[in-house]
C-alpha cells in the first residue's frame, strides 16, 4: 500500500488540487453570475424575465453530465473550443448560477418590504438599497442554502472526470485500473470528501456567525 501511495502520490495531489481549484472557481463564478442574473431579473427590463426563467429551468431540469458534454464536445461546432479544465469550470459556473440565482431570489423575497420602503423614503438610490440593505439582510436567510449548495457542488465536481479533467476522481480511477486495488483508492476518495465537506461546513458556519452577529445577544 505504501508503495502504491509513493507511486501515485504526486498524481493524487494534483487530483486533490484540481478538484479544489475547479470547485473554488466554479462556486465563486457561479455565485457571481447567479447574483448578476438575479439583479437583472429584479431590476432589469421585464422582457428579461422569460429568457432568464427558461435558462434556469433548462439548467435545473437537465443532468450536469449532459450539460458538460454539450459544452465540451458540442462547443467546438459553434466555435467554442475549450480544454477540459476550462470547460469543466465554465460548466460548473453555468450549472451553479442557475441554482444560486434561485436561492438569492428566495432570499431577496424574504427581505421585509418595509425595510426597503424605509430606505426609499429617505431617498437612497437603488444600488445603495441593494448593497447596504438588501444584501446584508438577505444573506441571513440565504446563507445556509448557499453553503448547502456549495457542498452539493463539491460532489458535482467529480463529474468533471467524465470529460477527462484529471481531478481526484480521474486520478483514483486510473490508479484502480492500473493496480486492480480498489480499497485504498476508495478510502482515499471517501476521506478526501469527508474532510473537504467538513471544511466547507465550518467556513459556512463562521460566515453565518459573521452575517448574523447582530442577532446574537452580547450582553
Amino acid at each position: 500500500m505504501l508503495e502504491t501511495l509513493h507511486r501515485y502520490g504526486p498524481d493524487l495531489l494534483t487530483g486533490f488540487g484540481l478538484t479544489i481549484f475547479s470547485w473554488l472557481l466554479g462556486t465563486a463564478f457561479g455565485f457571481v453570475l447567479g447574483f448578476l442574473i438575479e439583479i437583472a431579473r429584479r431590476f432589469g427590463p421585464r422582457a428579461l424575465g422569460y429568457p432568464i426563467r427558461a435558462y434556469v429551468e433548462f439548467i435545473r431540469g437537465t443532468p450536469f453530465l449532459v450539460q458538460l458534454f454539450v459544452l465540451y464536445y458540442g462547443g467546438p461546432l459553434i466555435g467554442l473550443r475549450l480544454d477540459a479544465l476550462p470547460a469543466g469550470i465554465l460548466g460548473l459556473t453555468i450549472y451553479g448560477s442557475a441554482y444560486f440565482t434561485e436561492i438569492l431570489r428566495a432570499g431577496f423575497d424574504a427581505v421585509p418590504l418595509g425595510q426597503i420602503e424605509a430606505a426609499r423614503a429617505i431617498g437612497f438610490r437603488n444600488s445603495t438599497i441593494v448593497s447596504r440593505i438588501m444584501v446584508p439582510v438577505m444573506m441571513v436567510s440565504a446563507l445556509p442554502a448557499l453553503v448547502n449548495f456549495a457542498i452539493i457542488l463539491t460532489k458535482e465536481t467529480v463529474i468533471l472526470s467524465m470529460i477527462t479533467v484529471p481531478e481526484i476522481m480521474f486520478q483514483t480511477q486510473t490508479m484502480m485500473s492500473e493496480t486492480f486495488a480498489f480499497v485504498t483508492p476508495i478510502l482515499i476518495l471517501a476521506l478526501f470528501f469527508w474532510g473537504f465537506v467538513e471544511a466547507i461546513s465550518r467556513i459556512g458556519r463562521r460566515l453565518e456567525r459573521r452575517f448574523t452577529h447582530y442577532l446574537i445577544d452580547r450582553s
Binding site: 425595510q115 424605509a118 429617505i122 447596504r132 452575517f211 447582530y214 442577532l215
Partner: protein, 264 residues
C-alpha cells in the same frame, strides 16, 4: 369645514385618485397640509388614510391629480404627464421624513448606524459628521445611551423612537407617521407619543395616520376623517370630536368610544 388660507400650505393634494385594479382607494381627494401644524388622519381601516399618506412621498404612485410639496409637484414631471425621474424623486423624498407602523429599522445596523446611514449616503456627510448628527437625533428621542444596540435588542417603543430619530436627522420639512403606535404594546405607546408631542411643540409639520384618538384630540391642530377613499370631514379637534356634523363620523366615534369605553 374651515379653510385656512392664512399661510401657504406645506403640501397639498388636489383631486388625487388612486386605483388598485378595479378598487378605488382614493376618490378625488383634495387636502392642504398647513405648515408647522399637526394634521391627523383618522377613519376605519381600509378608508384610504395610509394610502393618502404614502402618496405624499410617492411610496404609492397616484393615478391622477396633483400632490405638491412646497408648491413643487411630486411623482410626475407635469400634472398628468410623465413619471418623475427617479433621481428627482429621491431628492424630493429627502425633504419628507417617514415613520412606519412596523418601524422598519435595518436589522443588521446598530441604532446609530440606522440613523447615520441616510446622512452619509444621501446627504453626503462624512462618517464623523453623520455620527455626530445621528447622536444628537438619538439624544433628542431619549436614546443617547442605546446607540450601540441592534434593533433586536431594543423594545418596540425604543425601535420606533430610533425610527423617528432616523427621520428627523435628515432634517425634513414634513414628517409622515403611518400608524406609529399600532404595532406597540399598550405600555410602550406613551413614550412614542411623547416624542411626537415634543416634535409638534417645536413646530414640525406633521401628518399622522393614527388610531389614537386621545393623541388626535390633544395634539392635532386639524383632524381629517376619511371613509371609503373620501375625506368626509375636516376640522379642529373640537369640531370633529365634540360636534361631529357628519353622521358617518358620528357613528365611527360612537363605535370607538364603545370599544374603548373612555372619554376624551
Amino acid at each position: 369645514m374651515t379653510h385656512q388660507p392664512a399661510a401657504p400650505a406645506a403640501a397639498y393634494l388636489r383631486n388625487v385618485n388612486k386605483f388598485y385594479g378595479p378598487f378605488q382607494a382614493l376618490k378625488d381627494v383634495s387636502l392642504d397640509i398647513p405648515p408647522g401644524k399637526v394634521t391627523c388622519l383618522i377613519g376605519p381601516s381600509g378608508s384610504g388614510k395610509s394610502t393618502l399618506l404614502r402618496c405624499i412621498n410617492v411610496l404609492e404612485d397616484y393615478d391622477s391629480g396633483e400632490v405638491r410639496i412646497d408648491d413643487q409637484l411630486i411623482g410626475y414631471e407635469t400634472p398628468g404627464g410623465k413619471r418623475m425621474a427617479p433621481r428627482r424623486l429621491r431628492e424630493m423624498r429627502r425633504e419628507i421624513g417617514m415613520v412606519f407602523q412596523q418601524f422598519n429599522l435595518w436589522p443588521h445596523m446598530t441604532a446609530l448606524q440606522n440613523v447615520a446611514e441616510g446622512l452619509e449616503r444621501v446627504r453626503g456627510l462624512s462618517r464623523a459628521q453623520a455620527e455626530t448628527r445621528a447622536r444628537e437625533a438619538l439624544a433628542k428621542v431619549g436614546l443617547g445611551d442605546k446607540e450601540g444596540n441592534h434593533p433586536s435588542h431594543l423594545s418596540g417603543g425604543q425601535q420606533q423612537r430610533v425610527a423617528i430619530a432616523r427621520a428627523i436627522a435628515m432634517e425634513p420639512r414634513i414628517m409622515l407617521f403611518d400608524e406609529p403606535t399600532s404595532a406597540l404594546d399598550p405600555e410602550l405607546v406613551g413614550e412614542v407619543l411623547g416624542v411626537m408631542k415634543q416634535l409638534a411643540a417645536e413646530g414640525m409639520t406633521m401628518v399622522v395616520v393614527t388610531h389614537e384618538m386621545g393623541f388626535a384630540a390633544h395634539v392635532a391642530d386639524r383632524v381629517v376623517f376619511m371613509e371609503r377613499g373620501e375625506i368626509v370631514a375636516v376640522g379642529s379637534p373640537r369640531d370633529v370630536f365634540d360636534a361631529p356634523s357628519d353622521p358617518r363620523l358620528a357613528s365611527f366615534l360612537q363605535g370607538y368610544r364603545e370599544r374603548n369605553s373612555l372619554d376624551f
